[in-house]
Amino acid sequence: MSADTNSQRRILSILVANRSGVLSRVSGLISRRGFNIESLSVGPTEDATLSRITVIMVTSDTAFEQLTKQLHKLIDVHKIVDLTDENAIERELVLIKVNAPAEQRSEIIEIANIFRAKVVDVGKAALTIEVTGDEAKIKGIEDLLRGFGIKETIRTGVIAISRG
């Protein structure tokens, strides 16, 4: 049941009971059924008894439908929303530590400004940049910074919310 034809990147937002072991049930089921998780993030919600798990993965339609049904069978899963359609707002926060000798700093800061990213730390030979955005934006800034030499990248994993 792995990614086959008509595979597509998908965003799944799973509302679960805020209880110990739930993340392990959900992630265990996803890997057991043969799916690769690209990104996963968990956090509390407006309701203290519930948490939200956002999962990104690449699957076909049929495999995805089967996975959703299997997830629904977990007693701790309350609701599943497929946010794959362009209708969702998608964000990820990324910290990028990039080589920045003095003569290149201004150029890097300019790039950061264009992407509305922030310089959050300045070291002797490196800058750390915080950028928030969707997949395309993050890839964009990464591509531009790569030329300077990226030392380290840390990503939170994608979160997403429906519009309206």
């Binding site: 072991g21 392990s24 089967q66 299997q70 629904h72 977990l74 007693i75 899963v77 309350h78």
Partner: protein, 619 residues
């Protein structure tokens, strides 16, 4: 749905009677109406066992291995429909339950498994006999709980029983740290469960039911594919009503055996890998498959791509995840089979449906006449005892209304499924999904304790019997008067068969020439036992077995070259490899010891003609 049988004395004013967690577990079991549990004690379960000592209501059966305890609870549950209950200790006690839990999970059997656990304060420290049984069993339970607060205990047990035996049934595990078992609470047992995230759909969608009815009206070659879900749902009467009404043949899965009476002329019995040729031909030629409580498992469908190629599929199941998992369906109906089948029949009556299946049934009758199962009588051509003949005779001797047959796993299991006729649900218990050797004997013990008035007989192989032979002690001590018919071929027969057919007779690790003396083994457990080696002695031996008092074993010596036929032929090399051989199409079966091409050609010719006719009609 585990409605509280008895309610515990509760001191309302004080918010319930003060007791320990361990006592609360026993009180909750009593409130659920539990009368029989299976288990094995140990350090972290001592408090629960101490509380059990006082129970007037609950009888505890001491297994001789925790795997045995779980299969016993499973046999009890399958035979009775009630939830089976198991209590074990932490660490090795808990890990010994894993195969039993997985067996129950694969076959959707309601169990509540209560495990002692090390104290909360030392969880995660590799304490003595600590194992993360909640983590280990996560993929094989319907749900599990690791208790963290004694106050949650009554609600947890209530939920566990509700979950285990509602919707698609399954095992539920409760891990009880010893400090929680020791802590005190005011016990009141909740009447209601409140689980907003668990609401199984029971009632079928009326629009889908109407669609299914109209599809049935259009079909000329309909067929009902009945699985274990019929038995779980108690839907046998509704299934029979529908089959009669639409005059459709019924094929059953291994777990569906007994869901529909073998004596009905519409019953074609088991299909799939070792089903009959006629059942498989019927499935392959059907224009409508009505799947009820069945999951299109690879043992049923063979090569999926060619399964029932000409058929539309109506798929009725309580588990939405089964629908479309293996085979897409034209009309999916999620819900409880009983209500849906009744509604379907009602809708068809409203439409004044008159079946047009006479030609279809006539063709099937021809296949039935041409390709019966093998009924060799008691002797094979070489003079050894014929296993099929023994089981045919056993089937005649058993009263189908007053007997339960369990099986181990292997050739004997398939022969039993082919040759023992069953009329009623819950009368044929076998490990289908997991195929667990070692299931049959303990399951028979559980079934006998659930149904003391029935004759309970386990058909066993010499390999499987040795997987849980220690449970002979459980039978003897608990007074579970079970019978074992051991078909001893001094081999792991099913493995041997595959090696014979597909691995050039290289019998790697499949010969059991050094078997123990089974008669002496049984006698050591104070069973009575006999052995037969000659066909002419079989009749008297069977009579002896069925009339014997107390647990008894009959060892029947058979030849290790006896194979189970018919059998699905392997598919082309590119097809899905499931097990060690790639799976072929249902209508492509090995018949007997040589390939019976003639029969297959005739069947294919009929189907080709049909397909051509259908195409013409479509134009």
């Amino acid at each position: 749905m585990g409605k509280a049988g008895k309610t515990v004395q509760s001191d309302e004013a004080a918010g319930g009677q003060l007791m320990s967690g361990a006592q609360a577990i026993v009180a909750a079991l009593e409130a659920e109406g539990v009368e029989l549990i299976f288990g094995y004690p140990g350090g972290q379960a001592l408090q629960i066992y101490d509380a059990l000592y006082d129970s007037q209501q609950i009888r505890h059966i001491l297994a001789r291995h925790e795997q045995g305890a779980v299969h016993e609870a499973d046999g009890y549950a399958r035979a009775s429909g009630r939830t089976g209950v198991v209590v074990v200790t932490s660490g090795p006690g808990a890990t010994n339950t894993v195969t039993g839990i997985a067996t129950a999970y694969m076959d959707s059997v309601p169990l509540v498994v209560i495990c002692g656990q090390v104290s909360s304060s030392v969880i995660g420290t590799d304490a003595f006999q600590e194992s993360d049984i909640t983590g280990i069993t996560m993929p094989i339970v319907k749900h599990s709980y690791l208790l963290q607060d004694v106050a949650d205990l009554p609600r947890t047990l209530r939920e566990a029983f509700y979950l285990a035996n509602s919707g698609r049934p399954g095992p539920v595990l409760i891990d009880v740290p010893s400090d929680i078992a020791a802590a005190e609470l005011h016990f009141t047992y909740p009447d209601e469960v409140n689980m907003p995230s668990y609401k199984p759909t029971l009632k079928g969608n009326p629009r889908q039911i109407r669609q299914a009815a109209s599809m049935i009206t259009d079909a000329t070659r309909p067929l009902i594919y009945a699985g274990g879900g019929i038995i779980a749902s108690g839907a046998s009467p509704e299934l029979a009503e529908l089959a009669e009404l639409i005059q459709a043949p019924v094929v059953t899965t291994l777990l569906g055996k007994g869901a529909y009476p073998a004596s009905s002329p519409l019953n074609l019995g088991m299909f799939g890998m070792h089903g009959s040729k006629y059942a498989n031909y019927a499935v392959s030629a059907a224009d409508l498959v009505i799947a009820v409580g069945a999951r299109f498992s690879d043992r049923d469908t063979g090569r999926l791509a060619s399964f029932a190629r000409e058929a539309n599929v109506v798929h009725i199941d309580i588990d939405p995840a089964e629908i479309g998992k293996n085979r897409a369906s034209e009309v999916p109906i999620v819900g409880d089979a009983k209500g849906i089948l009744a509604a379907l029949s009602e809708q068809l009556r409203k439409l004044a449906h008159t079946p047009r299946t006479a030609d279809w049934l006539a063709q099937i009758a021809i296949w039935q006449a041409d390709h019966p199962f093998y009924h060799p009588g008691l002797a094979t051509p070489t003079g050894s005892i014929a296993p099929e003949g023994v089981l045919d005779r056993l089937s005649e001797l058993l009263d189908p209304a007053a007997s339960i047959v369990t099986t181990e796993v292997g050739q004997h299991q398939m022969w039993a499924a082919q040759h023992i006729q069953r009329e009623l649900p819950r009368s044929f218990l076998t490990s289908g999904g997991l195929g667990t050797m070692g299931y049959g004997l303990p399951a028979a013990i559980g079934a006998k304790l659930a149904c003391p008035d029935k004759l309970v007989l386990c058909v066993a192989g010499d390999g499987s019997l040795q997987m849980n032979s220690q449970e002979m002690a459980t039978a003897a001590v608990s007074g579970a008067d079970v019978k074992v018919l051991l078909l001893n071929n001094s081999a792991l027969g099913m493995v041997h068969q595959w090696q014979q057919l597909f691995y050039d007779k290289r019998y790697s690790a499949s010969l059991l020439e050094d078997n123990p003396n089974f008669v002496k083994l049984a006698e050591a457990y104070s069973w009575t036992a006999q052995r037969v080696t000659q066909p002419e002695d079989v009749e008297a031996a069977l009579q002896w077995l069925l009339a014997s008092e107390g647990p008894a074993l009959l060892e029947v010596r058979i030849d290790c070259d006896e194979d189970v036929f018919p059998m699905l032929a392997p598919g082309s090399p590119l097809d899905a490899v499931i097990g060690a051989v790639n799976i072929g199409a249902l209508d492509d079966m090995i018949d007997g010891k040589d390939w019976c091409e003639q029969d297959d050609r005739q069947a294919s010719a009929w189907m080709l003609a049909h397909r051509a006719a259908a195409k013409e009609e479509a134009k």
